[in-house]
Symmetry: C2
Subunit: 452 residues, 2 copies
């Protein structure tokens, strides 16, 4: 079992381990006055208030007696461990083996055209470990030899060109952190709560540092016809030859032809050796194993944009080319499937993002949206990037409904599911950026629910 | 062989593949006017100037003929690949197997008390992949069961306490990106160039996003005696019981008791499940497998700070407790051991950092420090964090000496090695933040050199 499930964040301290008397001492170095007051009151309100120092009884080591106390050394403290470079490329602890990207069985007919979800409930900060980046393939992934890989640019350019990886990697490069979210993230919940955990409700979401050459530089290099150019076709070299139309203004803005992800080369299942990074746009536009870019004067109406990734509206018509991932957030802990095993303090934490720019504010409600508190945002706060938020909360053992609501710098406010449905009906699939509700029962069980 | 060594960044485009005519068209979307002019002149100056489109001849695919051209599909483009979740926790491409952290053989008598170095020459951006984070152990590493792990705080506090991981992980957490550099990084070069590559000259350096509880909050929780408290002892639970004294003002500033690294739990060799993060301080202070913190009124003079990690001065006296990693930078590519196989454009790239705050500027010289140009800094620029810099350079086949010089927001300028030696002599070991010189020979070979 994973640490976070078995003994981690959501398991209780056996006591309220920050005694009231000590909290009185907490100064400006730690918490500001209002937060100190909140913490003090919330611990006082919790039912199992005990005397100072009682948390020590929770351990199976002797309780320390002032300065004289010494922890019993663990067995490993008395002998040599593994040498350096024992793992020339390291792996997570064996105790973390349960933290995996997971498929939702039966979601698609073939596993080569399916999804594996990032375990958001067990992650911290904003960087997604590359080994846990979500996957969405249309014909499976290959480990392509970069010496054989080529990128061709053609269409409305003065000179069509083919680039080797060596040619691309000599060019001026940029590095930027961005989120990537599949347009189908949270799709299963359009009709009502369908999946139990945040891994399945929101796990088609990752965030990495990408490095590559600005797409605008390559298009200039080929002599793009700026008068006629309106759309760009991006084509992958997978078995699906996945092809997507990108609006040319987005292509010439902050898009990157990227080889680097989180400091190293892209992982094979994320497009090694080359993928398109189009910040703020739905994941399917970030074409993996990128082999061709064609400049055109109209969208290309390929299979994946004319029969898939459409927004079915109540009148039966479909919206096409709705590529921007709108302002959204989710509480990742406590979240569905987890259990609060004791009353007292919890750090409510989650992620917020917007394809329109930076996150300006995140509010959190514990009463289903009647009252909201502004959460703390962790730095850095970057455009089209995940932002981590945290909020203090003391659980008194009663039922609650936890929600988060993001607001971006362009002023977009994350909608309620009812507001989305009023416009787009119940039969939509893609682009669900509704507020997520997690119900905490009196037993501490956390469940995926939707408010009417 | 790794991509970057065999066909990557330092291998040539067979031609100058950005033709002059196209560069004329590069607009504000891509490069600004002065940079455009530089690129145009540098390509014109290079010896092998060829006609537009000639780069296409470099490929083994048919040259495209305007819009009608189609790349020959690769074999993998015609069949299904691996399914999703084929690797529930993913790994790098098999083509990247050469990119490893490496030990410097014979550096210490036992591999359990040695170093493995991060391969900076092959990395991008600022995030170090957790699998390539450098290692410095004093008695090897263990994969500790977090259910058994405890943190004790004692000394000048009103209540000594022992915390479980579950207790710590319920507390308010913060996430921040910081570099970590061993105090002995670049130590081997004090007496002159000793090692060939940037992996060995500067590879005791990594940068990650860390998540944990502010140390100040824990010290307040235990009722730290602010009148008497001057130093903090941090103790690891490894076989060395590694112990270090931390100035209390640094402990109460931005220090974190961290469990998260790059979005997931710490790796075992980096201190799983708990390590001290003291931004800006030398790596040995970031005690791994953290089991005890003791508040005191004086430094503790432990083995690793009274007989090791000292700065031997020319008069034979030793400086103690010089814990801050000063302003420093290094060009990671081109760097020692690499080879420029053709003339023409190169993206000169590297890293800058300071234990005093943010990087304000990085200058790059190609003539051994006579002339300097200001490099582009990639965002985000964060305090006590790596900053990636890039600079355009066209190599004309003559010998050069490449250098970078960092300046931090506090005004500190990275010194020349001669300036450092004038103060600290030649027998020092730790805290070498001198400017690094890479000599490019007419044959394109890059070597570690020092200017007199």
């Amino acid at each position: 079992m994973s640490v976070r499930r078995s003994v981690g964040r959501l398991l209780p301290a056996p006591e309220n381990f920050i005694p009231d008397a000590v909290l009185e001492e907490i100064s400006a170095q730690g918490l500001d006055a209002s937060r100190r007051d909140f913490l003090r009151k919330s611990f006082a309100a919790a039912s199992a208030t005990l005397a100072a120092g009682s948390a020590l009884a929770a351990t199976d080591h002797p309780a320390p007696d002032g300065d004289m106390a010494i922890l019993q050394p663990s067995a490993h403290s008395t002998r040599l461990g593994h040498p350096v470079a024992f793992t020339p490329y390291g792996s997570p602890s064996k105790h973390e083996a349960n933290l995996q990207r997971r498929e939702s069985p039966g979601l698609t007919r073939k596993r080569e055209s399916s999804i594996s979800f990032t375990p958001l409930q067990g992650l911290f900060g904003i960087i997604t470990p590359s080994g846990l980046h979500f996957e969405r393939h249309h014909a499976g992934w290959h480990d392509i030899d970069p010496r054989e890989h080529r990128l061709m640019i053609n269409g409305l350019v003065s000179t069509a060109k083919v680039y080797t990886m060596a040619e691309l990697m000599r060019l001026p490069s940029v590095s930027r952190m961005h989120f990537i979210e599949c347009g189908a993230n949270s799709a299963m919940d359009w009709g009502g709560p369908a999946v139990p955990t945040v891994q399945y409700t929101h796990g088609m979401l990752s965030c990495c540092e990408f490095t590559g050459v600005p797409l605008s530089l390559l298009l200039e290099d080929c002599g793009i016809d700026k008068q006629k150019a309106k759309w760009l076709l991006a084509e992958g070299s997978d078995g699906a030859s996945l092809t997507r139309s990108i609006p040319i203004d987005r292509a010439l803005d902050d898009a990157i032809v990227a080889w680097g992800m989180n400091g190293e080369m892209l992982r094979p299942e994320n497009g090694y050796p080359l993928r398109l990074v189009v910040p703020g746009l739905q994941g399917v536009c970030w074409v993996k194993w990128l082999r061709r870019l064609e400049v055109g004067d109209a969208p290309f109406a390929t299979r994946e944009e004319s029969t898939q990734y459409l927004d079915l509206m109540p009148d039966g018509l479909q919206r096409q080319y709705t590529v921007i991932q709108e302002c959204k957030s989710v509480i990742t802990s406590p979240s569905g499937g987890q259990r609060l095993l004791d009353k007292g303090f919890y750090n409510v934490t989650g992620l917020a993002w917007s394809g329109r720019g930076k996150i300006a504010r995140v509010d959190v409600s514990v009463d289903g949206g009647r009252n909201w508190k502004t959460a703390r945002l962790e730095s850095p706060i970057l455009p089209k990037c995940l932002t981590r938020f945290n909020l203090d909360w003391a659980w008194d053992g009663k039922p609650y409904i936890l929600q988060s609501r993001a607001i971006d710098e362009a002023g977009h406010v994350q909608p309620k599911i009812a507001e989305l449905r009023a416009v787009r009906g119940k039969r939509s699939v893609y682009h669900n950026n509704a507020i997520q509700s997690w119900q905490v029962s009196a037993a501490g069980e956390v469940m995926n629910v939707q408010l009417s």
